[in-house]
């Protein structure tokens, strides 16, 4: 008999917690950095109120790292954990492609993309029935996880890189791809709040689905459900 597979591979578990820590620190130090200039612009440049498309609120100390206003200290955290975020995502993606996690659990089949299946999944979620779907994750989970892993976090990394003038000199095409440095800064801000929204929904669903078992499995790996009575 083959060795029983764990519910979460060791690479997934390590990345999950490293990534969680990095995102929390980057988000909160990012709010501190945002306080240094609370306007967002589109295009290459911008510094005047009339050029801005959004004036963002001042974020209070309890929401920022450090817990007082310091652009220098907040940048220290941001500069350090941007590397953690980027390289841990790269390592996770490589292992998830090779161990089949991406193909098996994250990418959805054509059948799953059918509107009837998505609609059924929405209805089940509204009934608070989370235990459904053929694979490990249902279609709404797949969409959210793929959206975060393949779109939102890479968007954060690349827009962050565009904002580094030294990086921009090396890869100027990336700035153009995002429509200019200030556009990249705006997208960085928007993607950060979309990630925050994911974080809130993720926590609420873990709480609804039984937080002790969910968190335990993300630490120990857990068992694949129904693995014991699998027949030939």
């Amino acid at each position: 008999m083959a060795k029983k597979r764990k519910r979460h591979a060791i690479s997934t578990r390590i990345w999950h917690w490293v990534n969680a820590l990095a995102l929390i620190i980057l988000f909160m130090s990012g709010l501190n950095i945002s306080n240094a200039h609370r306007r967002l612009y589109w295009g290459d440049g911008g510094f005047l109120p009339e050029q801005a498309w959004l004036e963002v609120p001042r974020f209070p100390g309890w929401a920022t790292i450090p817990d007082y206003y310091s652009l220098a200290a907040a940048r220290d955290w941001h500069v350090l954990f941007s590397l953690v975020l980027g390289f841990s995502l790269l390592a996770f993606m490589i292992s998830a492609f090779f161990n089949g996690h991406m193909k098996r659990d994250i990418f959805a089949s054509r059948r799953e993309w059918k509107p009837s299946n998505i609609w059924r999944d929405v209805r089940e979620h509204l009934k608070f029935n989370f235990d459904h779907g053929a694979g490990k994750y249902n279609i709404l989970q797949k969409i959210s996880y793929a959206g975060v892993i393949l779109i939102l976090i890479p968007l954060m990394i690349f827009t962050g890189m565009v904002m580094s003038p030294g990086m921009e000199a090396a890869w100027p095409w990336m700035t153009e791809m995002f429509g200019g440095r200030q556009s990249a800064r705006s997208l960085h801000f928007i993607a950060a709040w979309l990630l925050f929204a994911f974080f809130v929904v993720h926590i609420l669903l873990v709480l609804a689905a039984g937080p002790i078992g969910q968190i335990r499995d993300m630490i120990t790996g857990g068992k694949i459900e129904g693995d014991d009575d699998a027949t030939a």
Partner: protein
């Protein structure tokens, strides 16, 4: 209720803990390491050519160029120099060079000029686009004959911010970069006082605080020790990264 109190307390402990960690020496060392990694990545990803900051057209110029930090120099000598249109301003060239000396404004204008429309990114987050004109620093250093022991160029400034003299520094890679110029013009006119009249550094692959204003001298040095608090710049002495390309 208890659970919520617990979460609030845990959150407060987390940010307070991070604030304390941020003040430790080992965290500072980690951050210095990360700064080096970013710098190494920027250099490695741009390998095979000279990485250049993007240049723009006149249509992209900002409505005006914002001034930040020191907006003038609060000394009688500077006010007197301003009154005479900075005709007698001098840029001292010294340190580890074979031919130390002083350059007049006419000397600087007589050198081959570079005009570049670039984007200035402040560490705070805003950007302004301006057209800068001046001689390349590499020309000045070439004439001065920089000695092989020199690892950095120090930029001395006339302005004093919150009681300390402003200064900056860069490595030789940035010093001889084609876009590193000693600008005396902004948007085709003499540099305005708020933007650093009569001379300011443009070091286009780094953030705004590196672009020292009100330049009085450049100095080739082996080490940054002994200048300011030894971190290579006014803002660097106040916790900001020395490599401001991040």
């Amino acid at each position: 209720m208890q659970r919520r109190n617990f979460l609030v307390a845990a959150g407060a402990a987390f940010v307070a803990g991070c604030s304390e960690i941020g003040k430790t020496n080992w965290f500072g060392k980690l951050v210095d390491g990360a700064e080096g990694w970013h710098r190494g990545l920027h250099r490695a990803l741009g390998v095979g050519r000279i990485p250049m900051a993007p240049e723009y057209s006149r249509a992209d110029l900002s409505p005006y160029f914002r001034g930040n930090g020191s907006l003038t120099v609060d000394t009688d000598a500077y006010r007197a120099a301003e009154a005479e249109g900075f005709a007698n301003w001098r840029l001292a060239v010294g340190g580890l060079v074979d031919n130390p000396g002083e350059l007049t404004m006419d000397d600087l204008r007589a050198l081959p000029q570079r005009t570049q429309i670039t984007r200035h990114d402040c560490v705070e987050g805003w950007s302004a686009i301006g057209e800068w004109t001046g001689p390349q620093l590499s020309r000045i250093l070439e004439t001065a004959g920089v000695q092989p022991e020199a690892n950095f160029i120090i930029f001395r400034c006339a302005d004093n911010l919150n009681g300390a003299d402003y200064y900056e520094s860069c490595d030789m890679d940035d010093a001889i970069h084609p876009q590193t110029i000693i600008a005396h013009q902004l948007n085709g006119e003499a540099l305005p006082v708020r933007n650093g009249a009569p001379l300011r550094l443009r070091i286009e692959r780094q953030l705004g605080y590196k672009h020292a204003k009100y330049l009085t001298g450049i100095e080739a040095v082996a080490s940054l020790d002994g200048y300011g608090q030894g971190n290579g710049g006014y803002w660097e002495d106040r916790g900001y990264q020395w490599y401001a390309g991040i």
